[in-house]
């Protein structure tokens, strides 16, 4: 029981980090139908900016996190306008090639500008202190990741269900031509949700840096994990994304705990089984 709770706590923290990073990917994939392999690269950029802001510019963690999100969005929006826009509605192959190309360039540049070493994000003492959660203590940053993840989920839910933007977003996801005909400027919705998704990815990159350490190959190393999460959850579904993150987070954490040697093996085996039986994701809609 103790073990299960302990694994559960770690899995929860890991799952929420995955959620923050992948929810943007899920939304853009559901909305623009773009398989964006470079999504993880933007999380990495967020991590790099935060690290730089803390180490070199001496900003406090909180301010660095905000800077990271803003900076990543500033980098991503022109890319959306210039490159991504060209591949909306193109074949998966085209999208994969374009976005894998962008990923390669970002990895290469990250290494060229910042070197191949691991970058740490120094946490404030508050987040380093262990926190007692009843049955064990966990590092404060894990609890923080959980809290931020939950806040993001709640915020997104409110945004999508309770605001005018959310109405337009849902209309565009359901039927973009119809939404366009009803006067929704879908291209603006695309840009806004792309920016939002990238911003959340950057936030996840910063908050999750203790679990997914920042280095140039970050963008490749976790690309697969992120894609898997989206396809297991079902593109465009927030509930599905949370479910997939917690499920896959638990599988990976548990496998790492019980069979450390074969952790990845079981992770991918689980993915194949889940995806083969739910081709549209756990909560995705059939197309």
């Amino acid at each position: 029981m103790q073990t299960a709770l302990s694994i559960g706590a770690d899995a929860f923290a890991y799952g929420m980090v995955l959620f923050m990073i992948t929810i943007g990917l899920s939304v853009t994939m559901g909305l623009m139908k773009v398989v964006n392999l470079a999504h993880g690269a933007f999380a990495m950029i967020g991590g790099y900016i935060a690290s730089y802001a803390i180490q070199q510019a001496g900003l406090p963690f909180w301010l660095a996190a905000v800077t990271a999100v803003a900076g990543t969005v500033l980098i991503a929006v022109p890319l959306e306008r210039l490159l991504y826009r060209r591949i909306y509605g193109a074949s998966e192959l085209t999208q994969v090639l374009m976005t894998i190309g962008i990923t390669f360039v970002i990895i290469g540049l990250a290494n060229y500008l910042l070197g191949p070493t691991l970058k740490t994000i120094r946490l404030p003492d508050l987040l380093n202190a262990p926190v007692n959660i009843g049955f064990r203590t966990i590092p404060g940053h894990k609890l923080f990741a959980v809290l931020v993840g939950l806040a993001v989920a709640l915020g997104l839910w409110l945004l999508i269900e309770r605001t005018r933007f959310g109405v337009k977003l849902r209309a565009a996801v359901d039927n973009s031509a119809m939404a366009e005909a009803l006067g929704v400027r879908t291209s603006l919705i695309y840009s806004a949700s792309f920016a939002l998704g990238i911003g959340l990815a950057a936030l996840g990159g910063v908050v999750g840096a203790q679990l997914l350490p920042i280095e140039p190959y970050y963008a490749m190393r976790y690309m697969v994990t992120f894609l898997v999460v989206v396809s297991v959850g079902g593109a465009g579904s927030i509930g599905g994304a949370i479910l997939a993150c917690l499920l896959l987070g638990s599988i990976e954490t548990a496998a790492r705990y019980f069979v450390p040697e074969y952790g990845e093996f079981f992770f991918y085996l689980a993915v194949i089984v889940i995806v083969a039986f739910f081709p549209n994701g756990l909560l995705g809609r059939a197309r």
Binding site: L93, M98, I100, F104, Y112, P116, L227, V228, V275, A276
Partner: protein, 331 residues
């Protein structure tokens, strides 16, 4: 231009096809000979290039002809490489032709398994399944080190002389010409298969699977057969790599190799065998030059190239040439 086809006119078209086959083979042999003369010290690199070329050709079948997007095709290549390597190092199957046969068979089985799994999905699901499979295979090879050598790689592969006469020499001459002969045979066979009714079906599936189905033809059945052929070709590539390098590493069963193969294919141009050949040659030669300076520079270059290909040359280098050629022909 509405030309009503005549019976004898078609015979002319047929000749034309054979002529093109012959030109293709001649070009391949000529290129190989030039490589042999210009880079006598780098025959090992050229041989490796040919084994990867077989993987890219195999990928061209499913992705280029039939439109199945996959980022896990190295699974088929790795299956061939490990099967041939294990057969040679542990079961004494050291005749190079037998090793090829073992590799082809293993590739075919891997192709069927991968196909059966990947074809359950569409689009993103398909991609994710393909990635999951190659990662799973990679981990299996990594952990099954008693058989595969794990991360140290599989060694102790000592192929017999070819036909009992030609030893695989230190300079890699035998291996090189062996590889050239193999790729020429494969290319000729694939050209024949891809203009058969079956090949026409595969192209049809890429453009409209629903129409194929409504003609009474099973889409997944056809694709599975294509995956089988693709597995044979990729497996031959893997076996060739085991024979020529005498080691099999985890990299032969990796996501990276799968992604690189896709890049090579697209660079050259999808859906025609020449594209697969040209893309591999360009990629491997440039990679060899640039990554000596820095592997990260190479990544930037490839990344920019990919974006440029998508934006400006969606049909790859061969497509560019074809376009140049046809526009020049027009008055």
């Amino acid at each position: 231009m509405n030309v009503i086809p005549q019976r004898h006119g078609e015979a002319g078209l047929l000749d034309h096809e054979y002529v093109r086959d012959a030109i293709f083979v001649a070009a391949l042999l000529a290129a190989a000979y030039v490589g042999f003369l210009v880079m006598p010290n780098m025959l090992a690199l050229l041989t490796r290039m040919i084994s990867i070329m077989l993987l890219v050709l195999a990928l061209d079948l499913v992705t280029g002809y039939a439109g199945v997007a996959t980022l896990g095709h190295a699974t088929l290549f790795g299956a061939g490489a490990y099967a041939a390597g294990i057969g040679a190092s542990q079961y004494g199957v050291t005749d190079p032709l037998l090793m090829l046969a073992v590799g082809a068979a293993a590739g075919a089985v891997a192709g069927l398994v991968c196909g059966a799994v990947i074809l359950r999905g569409r689009g993103l699901t398909q991609l994710v399944l393909s990635i999951a499979i190659v990662q799973l295979a990679h981990e299996a090879a990594n952990k099954g080190s008693s058989i595969t050598g794990g991360s140290d790689g599989l060694s102790g592969i000592a192929p017999d002389p070819l036909f009992g006469m030609f030893r695989f020499d230190l300079f890699g001459r035998t291996a090189f010409w062996f590889a050239v002969a193999l790729v020429v045979l494969v290319v000729v066979a694939l050209r024949v298969v891809m203009r058969s009714p079956f090949g026409m079906l595969c192209r049809g599936i890429k453009e409209d699977p629903v129409r194929i189905q409504s003609m009474g033809i099973s889409v997944n059945g056809t694709l599975l057969r294509l995956y089988l052929i693709s597995g044979v070709v990729a497996g031959l590539g893997g076996a060739l790599s085991a024979i020529s390098t005498r080691v099999v590493g985890l990299d032969s069963l990796s996501f990276d190799l799968s992604a690189n193969a896709l890049v090579m294919l697209v660079l050259g141009g999808v859906g025609n065998l020449a594209g697969a050949v040209v893309g591999t040659v360009i990629f491997v030669l440039f990679e060899n030059q640039v990554s000596v300076i820095s592997p990260f520079h190479w990544l930037i270059l490839v990344g920019l190239l990919l974006v440029a290909v998508v934006l400006f040359a969606p049909s790859g280098v061969t497509g560019l040439f074809a376009r140049l050629f046809t526009t020049r022909q027009r008055p």
